[in-house]
């Protein structure tokens, strides 16, 4: 009894209230999205809103049940559950039927269940267990291999075997936890620069230079890498003198190439590659002179980046599914297609835009009612909020999410053992990732990747998974006071 009392006393009521408020607001909007002016009850199990309420009830029940399980249980069983769940993920496509190309849904009677949803939590627990060891160092390469494998295996299964790219991308959210636990900032900036290289090489690849010979994309990539090298010399090594000399050489070479076009069509792709190699060699000579070999990191980075640029086009054309390719092309402005792949986003923007400052009012939206927006109660549910509740409603919802996630970080920071802290950061990362990708997609800022808005989108599978994710954290958090003794 005393133990349970202490659990209730230590429970984080703020998260629970935010969870309930967001879920109920989501339920109202699912009702709104499915409403066709004549529908009857919000509680009718025949419609989506009624079902969502049922899922919410089940999720709450499971969440409360989870509160009664001792936190140590997760730590002890993390690997076993992880291994079992990998088998479930592997078996899923064999049992699943094809849902719009994805093989990730299993029919369990009335509930269509997506094991990939729950695997995020299970992976987080396994990561937390592995990285929670007292002698664990995130900066050591050897210690990094296992966590990366732990998260890459389920991600790969989901992406390749279940063909559910959206759910697989969520595994990138663990970067947040890695960063907080001390992973080098270079990894994040490096990752960001790779994304930039990818965009450059895809977006501008087919565009020829207005002068000389070559493609804009290739030139941009090489130029970007050259600038990275210069920045490294300037900021990381603090070597102003050599940075200036290098910048001078770069400008000189490019200027020379430019002048040459007056008589002869210069191949700028070749030129920019030569410039890049020249800078790398120059830098290497500096390094050898200074005997500060750690600085060769940038050389390795450039080499990998060059390979990456070459691989980009191949990946884009061969590995990505056609519909994913189209989505990226539309987002990058390579294709203008208001009725095809851009249709969802276009309609979504119209629906949100038409909401204006205060919205059209509950159940009064027309864009979503007329089914202009596909997936209007799942991935595009935010449209209904935008249309019916206007800027005020949507901003409030976003602020609620913001408070929720920042509060999760507060919870994470007050943990006394590494296991709970790592798990808490994983949870925060997952929620942040879902929020960013989903809202970014609906607002036309990111490509269309179908992942749900936590607690908000219609769906039993995601509602239950997110709730469990949160409530396991709440139990771990409630126990933190006991850990003092």
């Amino acid at each position: 009894m005393t133990r349970n009392n202490s659990i209730v006393a230590g429970l984080d009521w703020m998260s629970i209230i935010l969870f309930v408020v967001i879920a109920l607001f989501g339920w109202l909007n699912i009702y709104g999205a499915g409403y066709t002016f004549e529908q009857t009850s919000m509680f009718d199990l025949g419609n989506r809103a009624g079902k969502q309420l049922l899922w919410f009830g089940i999720a709450c029940f499971l969440g409360i049940a989870v509160l009664f399980i001792e936190g140590r249980t997760y730590e002890v069983t993390a690997y076993i559950i992880y291994a079992v769940w990998l088998l479930v993920l592997l078996a899923t496509p064999l049992l699943a039927h094809n849902t719009k190309g994805s093989m990730s849904w299993i029919d369990l009677g009335p509930l269509k269940f997506q094991p990939a949803e729950l695997s995020k939590m299970i992976t987080a627990l396994a990561l937390a267990k592995y990285m929670g060891r007292y002698d664990y160092k995130v900066r050591s390469w050897r210690d990094l291999v296992t966590p990366v494998v732990l998260l890459a295996v389920p991600a790969a299964i989901i992406m390749v075997w279940q063909r559910e790219t959206g759910s697989a991308l969520v595994y990138a959210s663990f970067l947040l936890m890695f960063y907080r636990m001390g992973m080098s900032g270079y990894v994040l900036t490096g990752g960001l620069s790779f994304a930039l290289l990818f965009i450059c090489s895809i977006r501008f690849d087919a565009i020829a230079l207005p002068f000389g010979v070559g493609s804009v994309g290739v030139l941009l990539c090489y130029l970007l890498l050259t600038i990275v090298v210069l920045c490294f010399v300037l900021f990381e090594e603090g070597d102003l003198k050599h940075a200036l000399i290098m910048a001078g050489i770069v400008t000189g070479l490019y200027g020379g190439g430019w002048l040459l076009t007056l008589w002869y069509p210069t191949n700028f792709n070749l030129l920019s590659l030569c410039v890049l190699v020249a800078m790398i060699v120059y830098h290497a000579v500096l390094v050898i002179y200074r005997r500060h070999f750690a600085q060769l990191l940038v050389t390795v980075y450039v080499a990998v980046a060059l390979l990456f640029c070459q691989a980009c086009t191949i990946v884009f054309e061969k590995v990505l599914q056609p519909h994913q390719r189209t989505r990226i092309e539309v987002l990058l402005g390579l294709k203008d297609d208001p009725t095809g792949a851009g249709y969802n986003v276009n309609q979504s923007l119209i629906a949100i835009g038409s909401g204006q400052f205060t919205g059209k009012g509950f159940l009064k939206g027309t864009q979503t009612k007329l089914r202009f927006v596909p997936e209007q109660d799942t991935d595009f549910i935010f449209c209904t909020v935008g249309e019916e509740w206007g800027f005020v409603g949507s901003a409030i919802l976003l602020i609620l999410y913001c408070i929720f996630i920042v509060h999760l970080i507060t919870i994470a920071e007050r943990q006394r053992d590494t296991f709970s802290m790592i798990y808490a950061y994983c949870v925060a990362g997952i929620f942040l990732f879902h929020l960013t990708i989903n809202i970014g997609m609906v607002l036309g800022l990111l490509p269309v990747i179908g992942i749900p808005l936590p607690f908000f989108s219609y769906g039993g599978s995601s509602m239950i998974s997110f709730t469990l994710l949160l409530f396991v954290l709440l139990r771990l958090d409630a126990e933190r006071l006991n850990k003092m003794r």
Partner: protein, 614 residues
């Protein structure tokens, strides 16, 4: 956690979260408050992609006769929201010939979300479908009385002839499995369900187009988007030219009327199927439109099993018609020579009886002419035993396999590859394994499998395979896989050589010619057409024997090869031969002069099962 060197990073993370949300809020503010263009778009032009259905490919016979075409049907749609502005329900019901109860029922159906998932009061909902032009004519005239009503046109299949139902197949609403398999389809689309409509679905269906139209926020259609620049035109399906001769098909079906069985005719030199009839059958028209599902269940429940395509799916022992193959194979493998003679003592012969007394001993030509069972038993035996039995029966079994391979070169015992005929049965030419299993490796000899010599026992073939066998004999040693699309004819993959001497075929053809002049076919011969044939009577353990006939004509440079089976009719000479003979006459002379014979056969009924055509 106090000595955490990375503690400050939590501020960076919190900052990032707040920054992201802030960015979203700025974007929202831009979309919803500053930029008014989205609002205008929402007010004026919501895009709607409306499917434009292509017209389905037409189907012609080999002479360019149109067999299958498209006929328009109409759907009446209602926009519920607009009906409030004035709707004369009484007049509406009168035009459609329904009463107010049915009207109420149909309205309830439209509103039932479980059955009508795309329900909206703003968009057109189908009230009644599959109406003819006449049905909607009066509605059109008085359309001002019904606000919110629309009339949409779609197409259904129409048939010029009541024949060839099995080959043509039918078009119906796509099944769930089609929807899952091919993203081209949407619920409610039509697609080929069976026969060549299904085989050639991809080619016949064409490609749907899209018309992008704008609607206001009330769902009312405002016009086309970008002046139709975004529209994609529908591509009509390609036409199909079949190898069928519809007049021959008609004759075949009329002759089989009231009987259970099938008749298949092939042009030997091309493998083109001229006619493929299976009885009982139905008029393809009954599977079109509103009545489709009701009629389909009726056919499914019919005890005569009309839906079974007997010509390609039913298997029968070939009986005496198999002696034609035996003749070629035994000559080829050296079991007999053209001059080998065997004695026959008529019904008293052992181990196989002959059906009647005839001159004895007989050589090959006489044996074919008289359909002498003892002759073919002896030829079969001598062919198999030619090199003795060997250790453990080994040599004999090798000879048997040689015989089996030869027989299968006539297209028996296997489905035809690379053809467009779906739903074939394999047939059986028993394998060595089968006999080894039953009798043990050493336990079977020529005498054990003697029934095979006269086409009984374990041998089974479909009528299509028998017709192909006739074509192989007509071609003196090769066949082109039978098919129904004329475009396939030139495919070199379809040609199959038996690799046996033309001389043996010539001799067998001579024998088959003598069947028609002096033998069991003589009552159905037309001298000028140089008919060749072989009758058969397949023993049927379940009832009366099946009548079988295979043949071709003319003897030199044959134009048509035929196989006919009439179930439970008795002698092949009496019931199957006249059908084949009349079909040859029809095809070769384009008319039937033997009207009394035609009428006698066409009016004979062997089945109590009612004919579905009436």
């Amino acid at each position: 956690m106090t000595n955490d060197p990375f503690y400050r990073r939590n501020y960076i993370i919190r900052g990032t979260v707040i920054l992201i949300v802030l960015l979203f809020i700025v974007r929202l503010f831009w979309l919803q408050v500053i930029d008014q263009s989205q609002k205008e778009k929402a007010d004026n032009n919501a895009l709607l992609r409306q499917v434009v259905y292509p017209s389905r490919g037409l189907v012609y016979d080999r002479n360019g006769e149109l067999l299958v075409f498209n006929q328009p049907i109409y759907e009446v749609t209602l926009i519920l929201r607009e009906m409030k502005q004035g709707f004369d329900t009484v007049a509406f019901c009168r035009c459609l010939n329904i009463d107010s109860t049915e009207f109420a029922e149909r309205m309830a159906q439209i509103k039932d979300k479980r059955r009508n998932r795309g329900f909206s009061t703003y968009t057109p909902q189908i009230f009644m479908s599959q109406l003819s032009k006449q049905d909607v004519a009066s509605l059109r005239e008085t359309s001002y009385k019904y606000s919110g009503m629309g009339i949409r046109k779609r197409t259904l299949r129409g048939y010029n002839y009541p024949y060839a139902a099995h080959i043509l197949g039918s078009v119906g609403e796509v099944s769930q499995s089609d929807l899952d398999r091919d993203s081209y389809y949407q619920a409610g689309d039509y697609a080929g369900r069976d026969g060549m409509e299904r085989t050639y679905e991809q080619r016949l269906r064409g490609e749907k187009g899209v018309e992008v139209i704008m609607r206001d926020s009330r769902g009312r259609i405002q016009g086309s988007y970008h002046d139709g620049e975004e529209d994609v035109e529908a591509i009509a399906g390609k036409d199909l030219h079949l190898t069928l001769d519809i007049r021959l098909q008609a004759v075949a079906e009329q002759l089989l009327n009231g009987k259970v069985g099938s008749a298949v005719a092939i042009e030997p030199s091309t493998g083109e199927i001229l006619a493929l009839a299976s009885s009982p059958t139905w008029n393809p028209e009954i599977l079109v439109g509103k009545q489709r599902s009701e009629q389909y269940s009726r056919l499914l429940a019919d005890e005569g099993k009309p839906l079974l395509n007997r010509a390609t799916q039913a298997m029968y022992p070939p009986g005496s018609t198999f002696k034609t193959i035996q003749s070629v194979v035994c000559l080829q493998e050296g079991g007999i020579t053209p001059n080998t003679m065997y004695p026959c003592s008529g019904p008293g012969s052992t181990p196989i009886k002959c059906t009647h007394h005839h001159g004895s001993p007989v050589a090959l030509l006489g044996a074919i002419e008289q359909s002498c069972n003892p002759y073919f038993w002896c030829a079969f035996r001598d062919m198999l035993q030619k090199e003795g039995y060997g250790n453990d029966n080994e040599v004999f079994r090798k000879r048997y396999n040689l015989w089996r391979e030869d027989v299968m070169k006539f297209g028996l015992g296997a489905k035809f590859d690379h053809t467009d005929i779906s739903e074939q049965s394999t047939g059986t030419i028993p394998s060595e394994k089968l006999f080894n299993r039953t009798y043990g490796q050493k336990g079977w000899k020529a005498i054990t499998i003697r029934s095979l010599s006269i086409g009984q026992g374990e041998i089974l073939a479909t009528p299509l395979q028998l017709a192909n066998q006739a074509a192989t004999l007509a071609n003196r040693g090769y066949y082109i896989t039978p098919h129904i699309n004329r475009e396939l004819t030139d495919d070199p993959q379809l040609r199959h050589e038996t690799g046996m001497k033309a001389e043996w075929f010539e001799l067998t053809a001579e024998g088959m010619h003598r069947v028609m002049t002096n033998g069991t076919g003589r009552w159905n011969n037309i001298d000028s057409l140089q008919m060749c044939g072989k009758t058969g009577t397949a023993q049927n353990p379940h009832g009366k024997d099946h009548a079988i006939f295979i043949g071709f004509a003319p003897m030199d440079n044959p134009k048509i090869a035929v196989a006919v089976i009439v179930e439970n009719a008795g002698f092949g000479a009496t019931w199957a031969a006249p059908v084949a003979s009349l079909m040859m006459e029809q095809y070769l002379t384009d008319t039937i002069k033997r009207k009394p014979l035609f009428n006698k056969i066409a009016n004979a009924h062997f089945t109590t099962a009612h004919d579905t055509k009436q």
